[in-house]
């Protein structure tokens, strides 16, 4: 005699199906395809001398964020995994956060000097200040009367 008789619950079946789909495609990948916003979200402002860039990267180890600067091209890359390992009894009623690896290249309004760049990671926001090399800064010309 089997003692595993359970009442049939259609929601449970759906839940299992969703879990298996999640395993096949990588969790939350489906929704990432649908709303394929670039990650991370970036705000950028600049004046003639420098560029300020902020990126939303909550919950990262700053050592796991890589920043590469070359000319006027800036690349931010990194990766993140589940905080808690997947285990048998665990369910995931909601998975909206980004996971996996990312790489984003942003074109800056001008070439920047990578040597004196400043990068600060605070409260999940990465802030970069990149300076324009002295020789590239716009020069004011004096106009003489001829």
């Amino acid at each position: 005699m089997s003692n595993t008789i359970r009442t049939w619950n259609p929601w449970r079946e759906l839940d299992q199906l969703q879990n298996e789909m999640g395993r096949m495609f990588g969790r939350n990948r489906i929704s990432q395809f649908i709303e394929s916003k670039p990650y991370p979200a970036v705000n950028l402002s600049h004046d003639n001398e420098s560029v300020k860039l902020r990126a939303e990267l909550p919950g990262y180890d700053p050592d796991a964020i890589n920043i590469d600067v070359e000319g006027n091209s800036l690349t931010i890359s990194g990766e993140r995994h589940f905080e808690t390992e997947e285990s048998e009894g665990n369910k995931y009623p909601l998975t909206e956060r980004f996971r996996g690896s990312f790489k984003r290249t942003i074109t800056l309004p001008f070439d920047v000097n990578s040597a004196n760049a400043e990068a600060v990671y605070r409260d999940g926001v990465l802030e970069l200040v990149l300076h324009r090399p002295e020789e590239h800064k716009p020069k004011k010309l004096e106009v003489k009367r001829g």
Binding site: R12, V42, T95
Partner: protein, 136 residues
């Protein structure tokens, strides 16, 4: 009321409480990205609130509704001219209806690098209690 029914029938131990949608008109309020892990002994919430530190978080549990509010400590200056603008800076707000009994006194909340982690321990369901019958 439909929320509560939905929570119990799909065996999910929490679901979003849509009724709490009041927004501050002066300051933008955003919906944070959230992960929920439902394990045997607790519910764990990971709430992404970049720009928020320990001084700007408010978590309340009332009538099985978990409310999370985050206030950004240093908003970006308004006079900054953005050439690329992909995220707005403001506060965060979201609430969930919790369909399982949780031990409210043992909720653990911590925030690090703009990520709020909440542990809500479940109250163990009381097993069938045997009632002693006395001979009368």
């Amino acid at each position: 009321m439909t929320d509560a029914t939905l929570c119990t029938t799909n065996e999910s131990s929490c679901c979003e409480n849509e009724s709490n949608g009041k927004q501050n008109e002066q300051r933008a309020v955003y919906r944070p990205h959230v992960d929920v892990i439902d394990s045997a002994d607790k519910l764990t919430f990971y709430v992404e609130m970049p720009g928020v530190n320990e001084n700007g978080v408010e978590v309340t549990v009332e009538n099985q509704v978990l409310s999370i509010r985050g206030t950004v400590s240093v908003p970006e200056s308004a006079d900054e001219r953005h050439t690329q603008f992909e995220y707005g800076v403001g506060d965060y707000e979201r609430s969930f209806k919790i369909a399982v009994d949780i031990d409210r006194d043992k909720i653990d909340a911590r925030i690090k690098d703009g990520l709020l982690t909440l542990d809500l321990p479940k109250v163990k369901p009381a097993g069938a209690t045997k009632v002693a019958i006395k001979a009368g």
